[in-house]
């Protein structure tokens, strides 16, 4: 039986002259798990909302074509009727939490549908049990982690007993542990729940584990649709579009070592590469921390930070940030990464201990004193964009410094060229795409030429092309002498670009050292706090006993 049928679907938002979807065609069979991938702006969310039947009734736009959901015309049937059959879990866990208790949240749609109290309680209990949130009924959203909130969102969706579940980047904003929690629920759904699922995700390494089929969207069109193995075999095409290739697939393709089908997962790759196992080598000359780094930019000495509500965010942290390094700070949510960054820019002062920024005690500093030396880019660029045009946005910090307008113009041009936004000077910032807004936020920080740049989750929610673009920009900046501190959950980014890694957990320093050392010698420690190195590290550990950091450093030697 057909669950979803989309025929020649076109959609244009009223405010836009461009079509977001341009003749999309696909079908989903009942019980199928379908993944949708594509670069930012490809129309993935628009497609999901149209399939759910909600967009065409809530947002002004032009719609052509046909969407059928279990035989019903989704474009014309009321949302009320469709909402009993389809459920959607969005990216932002907080926005979806419309009540203030887990129990109320899961019960809310059931109350709206007028089910009996007994049935509501039974379904709530069953759904919470399924997602592993039993016992959390009376918790408030602020008492839950991101992963737990998304599991509650899935429970609220499942309690309706929908025929179709849509997960639109439901794991994008989560830390590795949260991601794993949600993924394990999806795995369970696949194994034992009578539901059809459409899953949108940038992280193809995770996606291939759950889906029967992958649809690739680009510029509002379906450019590939089929079995994941067949789709991900089109590596060159996907790379051009800007889609992340699962690392095991990429590695096998690069080595030309898989006979026939390319592997999708680590397990498959272990089998596929087993015949050439003895010829695999790692180009991993031990990269140590650069010994020439002796000038401290920031130092933490036995720093503790306690929030007003008594939460201990940092507990006796001691570490240095060296001039010129590319440092990654990793750790699960709540490990103290952002608090550490805020202490470095003097937004917070230590409760005890000492933070020195460029030799000065941070207690004697303020953010406005430091902003020309230490730049901070937020995870969500929208918090940072306060002006009417791109030009003014980049000029804003320079004008605060009282810089001459001629110099302002030069610096703005330089910063915009650096991030690839030149030519958009007069555009209002909020008309830019998310990737562009992120680069604009970075440009406005770069314009003052800081010595130290702190960037929070630069790749979260970004597609592969934007992630690479930002990472490569950071490398360039680092080469030009800017010290980079990246706070991230993206261990693929860390392993490819960072020189040194600091691992935090529960406000304490777990380990610090060169990226290779941390990812080679501390795999178990990382795993114990929910941090999983990229698939290629696990794959090479399995095959040759030593983890690799990137796909590029694995080579196949000629037979002796």
């Amino acid at each position: 039986m057909r669950a979803v049928s989309v025929e020649d679907l076109w959609w244009r938002y009223q405010a836009s002259s461009e079509w977001t979807l341009k003749g999309v065609d696909f079908e989903v069979e009942k019980g199928e798990f379908v993944g949708i991938v594509g670069p930012s702006g490809a129309g993935k969310t628009t497609l999901c909302l149209l399939v759910a039947g909600v967009l065409s009734k809530s947002v002004k736009g032009v719609c052509k074509g046909k969407v059928e959901l279990f035989g019903k015309d989704a474009l014309r049937t009321s949302v009320k009727q469709l909402s009993e059959e389809v459920a959607i879990v969005l990216q932002d866990a907080d926005t979806q939490f419309v009540t203030m208790r887990v129990l109320d949240e899961v019960a809310f749609p059931l109350e709206n549908f007028g089910l009996s109290r007994e049935e509501i309680l039974e379904r709530v209990s069953e759904a919470l049990e399924f997602v592993g949130m039993k016992g959390y009924e009376w918790k408030h959203p602020h008492e839950l982690s991101g992963g737990q909130k998304q599991r509650v969102a899935i429970a609220a969706a499942l309690a309706k007993r929908p025929k179709l579940l849509i997960l639109d980047e439901a794991t994008s904003d989560l830390d590795p542990l949260g991601k794993r929690e949600v993924l394990s629920v999806i795995r369970k759904l696949r194994e034992g729940y009578d539901v059809t699922a459409v899953i949108v995700d940038h992280n193809t390494d995770d996606l291939v584990e759950f889906v029967d089929r992958v649809i690739v969207l680009e510029g509002g069109r379906v450019v590939a649709d089929g079995d994941p193995r067949a789709v991900f075999s089109r590596i060159e095409q996907l790379r051009t579009i800007g889609i992340r290739i699962p690392q095991p697939t990429e590695l096998a393709f690069r080595l030309g070592a898989a006979n026939g089908e390319l592997p999708l997962t680590v397990e498959e790759a272990v089998k596929a590469l087993a015949p050439v196992k003895d010829r695999l080598r790692l180009l991993d000359g031990e990269v140590l921390e650069n010994p020439s780094r002796s000038e401290k930019l920031v130092s933490f000495t036995d720093v503790t930070y306690v929030y007003e509500d008594g939460t201990v965010a940092l507990n006796g942290l001691s570490l240095n940030v060296w001039k010129g390094e590319f440092l990654a700070v990793i750790g699960p949510n709540g490990s103290g990464k952002t608090t550490m960054a805020k202490l470095m820019v003097s937004l917070l002062k230590p409760t005890s201990g000492r933070v020195e920024v460029m030799g000065v005690d941070s207690r004697a500093l303020s953010p406005t004193m430091l902003f020309s030396k230490v730049g901070y880019v937020f995870q969500n660029p929208d918090y940072q964009l306060v002006c009417d045009t791109v030009y003014d946005e980049v000029a804003f910090p320079l004008r605060q410094l009282g810089v001459d307008e001629k110099v302002v113009k030069e610096r703005v041009q330089w910063a915009l060229v650096s991030v690839g936004l030149n030519g958009l000077e007069e555009t209002p910032p909020f008309f830019l795409s998310k990737g562009e807004r992120q680069r604009l936020a970075l440009a406005s920080v770069l314009a003052v030429k800081p010595q130290l740049l702190i960037i929070d989750e630069p790749t979260t929610g970004q597609d592969e092309r934007n992630s690479r673009r930002i990472a490569e920009l950071l490398v360039q900046l680092n080469k030009s002498g800017v010290t980079i501190v990246v706070i991230t959950h993206d261990l693929r980014l860390v392993s490819e670009y960072a020189e040194r890694v600091v691992v935090l957990n529960n406000g304490r320093l777990v380990t610090a050292g060169s990226t290779r050392k941390v990812f080679t010698e501390h795999l178990e420690t990382l795993a114990s706090i929910g941090l999983e190195p990229p698939p290629v590290a696990r794959l090479m550990k399995e095959l040759v006993g030593r983890p690799a950091l990137t796909v590029k450093e694995v080579v196949l030697c000629e037979r002796a």
């Binding site: 759910a52 419309v98 406005t368 901070y376």
Partner: protein
């Protein structure tokens, strides 16, 4: 959400405080009544009596009065503003003139008395509201308003506003931090310049709020909101004897104050309205 930075309107004090166990409608009515009565009373002595009675009643109901300490700075701030505005900008006739300013305003014995009344009125409203807010649970707003006849959709929208205003405050704090990190001197310098800089926070806040509202509307629609047919309510609140007594007391108190204001000068400020 960021560690240690959680904002919520609900304090979740324990059930020893009797008002916590009350019917949601009683809590909502209390909130309204405790804000109306101080507006009716004008004279300082009855206002002081009302405030004292309020504190006594709260203490008898085992309210966690120590929590009021958290709100003291706000009260002092408001009191300061009241004192300054009456001292510098009023012309209340009185028997003794203490100070006369070149711009024509003056301070008399009546100014001081009236100032005291205003401070007592605001204190009563703040203390009364806080004592009710301390007892509120998240379901109370929806169920309380609904049992008073407000349509469910409107009651839920009000509750949603409370939930999202907490997120809005977080957003504001982040935008403000971002401004500081761009060199905006929000805490020092010319107040006009500061106000101008601060007004820029409206742009991102508005954009973020609009995006959030759009996602929220999608989420709500797919959760079957607003309900088109009969809706089930998970919680069932029964009226207790305490609720009936509290309701009666609130009604009698409001009626008594209104009647006393009409028939006797006891609650009015002597000489009001000033001419």
């Amino acid at each position: 959400m960021e560690k240690g930075k959680v904002r919520t309107f609900f304090t979740y004090v324990d059930e020893r405080y009797m008002l916590v166990r009350a019917h949601p409608a009683v809590k909502i009515v209390s909130l309204v009544v405790l804000n109306i009565i101080p507006w009716i009373i004008e004279a300082p002595a009855p206002l002081a009596f009302f405030l004292a009675s309020l504190l006594l009643a709260a203490s008898l109901m085992k309210a966690p009065l120590s929590k009021l300490r958290n709100y003291l700075p706000y009260l002092l701030l408001v009191a300061q503003a009241v004192v300054l505005s009456y001292v510098l900008g009023s012309r209340i006739p009185g028997n003794v003139v203490f100070i006369e300013f070149p711009w024509g305003c003056y301070v008399t014995d009546k100014t001081l008395l009236y100032m005291g009344s205003v401070v007592l009125r605001i204190s009563s409203m703040l203390v009364g509201s806080t004592l009710v807010f301390l007892s509120l649970r998240d379901t109370d707003v929806v169920y309380g308003l609904k049992s008073l006849g407000v349509p469910f959709s409107a009651a839920f929208a009000f509750n949603l506003a409370l939930r999202f205003s907490a997120l809005f405050l977080d957003d504001y704090a982040r935008v403000r931090d971002a401004m500081l990190l761009k060199g905006a001197k929000l805490d020092a310098g010319n107040p006009l310049e500061r106000a101008k800089l601060l007004s820029r926070t409206a742009v991102p806040l508005m954009v973020i709020a609009v995006r959030r509202m759009q996602d929220l509307s999608f989420a709500l629609e797919l959760k079957g909101f607003p309900p088109s047919g009969r809706r089930t309510f998970l919680y069932q609140f029964q009226w207790s004897r305490f609720d009936a007594a509290a309701f009666a007391l609130l009604t009698v108190a409001t009626a008594g104050v209104v009647i006393a204001k009409i028939v006797s000068p006891l609650l009015s400020f002597p000489g009001w309205p000033f001419v």
